[in-house]
Subunit: 254 residues, 4 copies
Amino acid sequence: MKINLNADMGESFGAYQMGADETLIKSIQSANIACGFHGGDPVVMMKTLVFAKENDVSVGAHPSFNDLQGFGRRKMKLAPKELYAILTYQIGALMGSAQTMGLRLSHVKPHGAMNNMACEDYDMSLIIAKAVHDVDQDLILLAPVLSELSKAGKDKGLRVGEEIFADRAYEEDATLVARSKEGAVLHDPAVCLDRVLRMLDQKGIITQSGSVLACDIHSICVHGDNAEACQTAAFLKEGLLGAGYDLRRLDEMI
Amino acid sequence: MKINLNADMGESFGAYQMGADETLIKSIQSANIACGFHGGDPVVMMKTLVFAKENDVSVGAHPSFNDLQGFGRRKMKLAPKELYAILTYQIGALMGSAQTMGLRLSHVKPHGAMNNMACEDYDMSLIIAKAVHDVDQDLILLAPVLSELSKAGKDKGLRVGEEIFADRAYEEDATLVARSKEGAVLHDPAVCLDRVLRMLDQKGIITQSGSVLACDIHSICVHGDNAEACQTAAFLKEGLLGAGYDLRRLDEMI
Amino acid sequence: MKINLNADMGESFGAYQMGADETLIKSIQSANIACGFHGGDPVVMMKTLVFAKENDVSVGAHPSFNDLQGFGRRKMKLAPKELYAILTYQIGALMGSAQTMGLRLSHVKPHGAMNNMACEDYDMSLIIAKAVHDVDQDLILLAPVLSELSKAGKDKGLRVGEEIFADRAYEEDATLVARSKEGAVLHDPAVCLDRVLRMLDQKGIITQSGSVLACDIHSICVHGDNAEACQTAAFLKEGLLGAGYDLRRLDEMI
Amino acid sequence: MKINLNADMGESFGAYQMGADETLIKSIQSANIACGFHGGDPVVMMKTLVFAKENDVSVGAHPSFNDLQGFGRRKMKLAPKELYAILTYQIGALMGSAQTMGLRLSHVKPHGAMNNMACEDYDMSLIIAKAVHDVDQDLILLAPVLSELSKAGKDKGLRVGEEIFADRAYEEDATLVARSKEGAVLHDPAVCLDRVLRMLDQKGIITQSGSVLACDIHSICVHGDNAEACQTAAFLKEGLLGAGYDLRRLDEMI
């Protein structure tokens, strides 16, 4: 019984602060580090790597569309070769910085709009998977369970870390309930923990109707946008430990 | 009797073209590839790497201050940790892209103002050398002969590729004659070739007064800004071959 | 019998050159000046304004999506308030610079993907027209004949400068024939001139089938990407003068 | 007996928040609005203008070096024509946006390193003053009392708004005590208020030794970086009102 908690980190930029990394890192075992395209800058990246190392958290690249003003949340339609190139660039940039402290990247997780678009687009996902594979075939692709991204990663021969969201409701087709709909986001930490434990126990995601969609689950995505989110993450960690789960780095999961 | 010719490449950006890479690459054995901070973008970088591979030219990172508008030619005073971080970021970004095609970087050569400032500043050079070393201690630091950058590279334990300029006059202290002074730039290819051959023969740079300052010479820096510059590069290559020199990739020189 | 020739200008950026402004300006009466979002920078903008003033060419803003790497040619889906804000920002930026030399902007012409998208999207065009109007209701909106952009500009109460393309074939619905189709671009200057004269004479655009779609025509868009394009522009200018047309600044046309 | 309180505003960027504008605006009469070069973006600028209008606060441009990552706090040595051009660009950009809501800019205040450098450099200040003047000679230049920037503004014929800092100690030569020295920053709101009232009363700044350096004082610069800073600003406002001062917009002061 082992599981991983992952979160986005290093999304500050210059004088601009984003997220409560110092608090959140105590609850997770793997960090997705922004690579300068939607957030992060070379100094922030280096600082975040040091910080992850000190806390024995495995590090992964969190590449994005090149859109600082939109924080990588705006859809962009890129030519395949550009999508491929911005991925190898960003993964490499973090890799170069990590090598200076003897760290090896455990994984890659696309950010924001790139992730959302890929989850519904197999062809786009295959380009992402190919870029990750071609930079280093030992990298894990961290992707939502039952997504096109997860599928493409496996088809490309990558190890895929399959993640669920602790605080988001699922539709019957395994996609997330749109934030605009009621009940899309779960706010009560106890409810989040209970649902996560049930999904791990039943080996699948539980949809709004209560159906179980069978899948592997390697990781749980948590957030650190504010103090409340950090408390939820800490609550989940304690709850999982209390239920007998072993919390592991992503590279120890797959 | 072996020598290397190096040149900056991949400095186009999006729709903006810079340099005649297609012509120039026929004359060189090592390319310094821009990493997106003063020129280049992920797509251009990838294209330039493919192009270098096809021509069996060794590839190096050509990192810069983050200054696209100034083409990396404007002096910036960065905190040591920022200088270090932008170097590991850029070297890694090219490394990640190169890995996708089985290429390994042979060297790093700082661009523009960063290079000029480092050549006169040992402490700054030591940070550069440390960043190169920490990413990959097998990387060659390509630096002007007798510069602080060359000195710091050796002190840090790096292999240093020492380069001369074919078309620039030297002061008595081994620095370049300022472009504002008469005679600073040599325009006649025959004069350039003759001087290069004498410097290689006498194992040192020849200053304006005719003095020889002894130094190792591993590489000659050429330019491809326009058709004329490319012709000079081709003329140098032919002249060196004619004089019995073996033209080698930088990673075969040191 | 009066007509205007307009062209995009000031699209260089830092060390990157784009277009042959010095040659092209001799053939036109109105310049659409890039505002830093797809090309141009504050120094280039100032230089282009000086240049336009010296040649008595009227100046307009050529705003774009914020996409230097894509040269403003990539589609972006912006929120209405962001589209509005990037327009008032860019128009103002050129206006501020123009005021320093006593110049007043004559017009605004959206660039690249923003223009293309607007031509087919009335709601988007209305936001553009509103932004232009709200900054200065005396500004002319320069738009392709029979486009949604032209329609929205008039509906908003703006003076609309209606332009045709000298070198592009038209579909039966007044849209441009896609570049991927044969015959989309006319390369022979004599053919371009002949067709332009017929369109002016018949007061409408002539489609591929030879039909005439009636419309006002205030301006002809020409290009200066290279020496050949500049020659076509010069040929058109001379042909129009030879046919008895009076070449006027856009602010003297409407 | 009238005085003005000014503060920097609109320095958020995309998803990144900076400053407590909503609270701070209740205490000031003039806002210096970032123009996108060190902070702010077109959407943030528009929102801040609306906000200032609702609160009847006069608006000024807060232009900067083009350095988002460094928040405009890093020194740059620009060519005079570039310094001039980035100022006319930024002032114009805010002006264009302000015109859409019938607002007229009252003033210009350089940001960060540009301001600091100008305060000690008359020639640089003269370029700034000329740029402000050439865009609109009615604009007020808001500058620290007894600085080279203030001097150059007057020499250029501009109205100069002379500002003091409520919370910073002054050297005998009217420069600010470096932050690295003890006592450089005053933290007690009551001490700040007392000192401001004495400076207004004695018509000059009071140095560390207690000397009074005579000067006009039109405005007091306050900060809104956090809740504490906003409280100090509110305390100053109440204290000035209590002492019988009339709080006025900058364009009503000079």
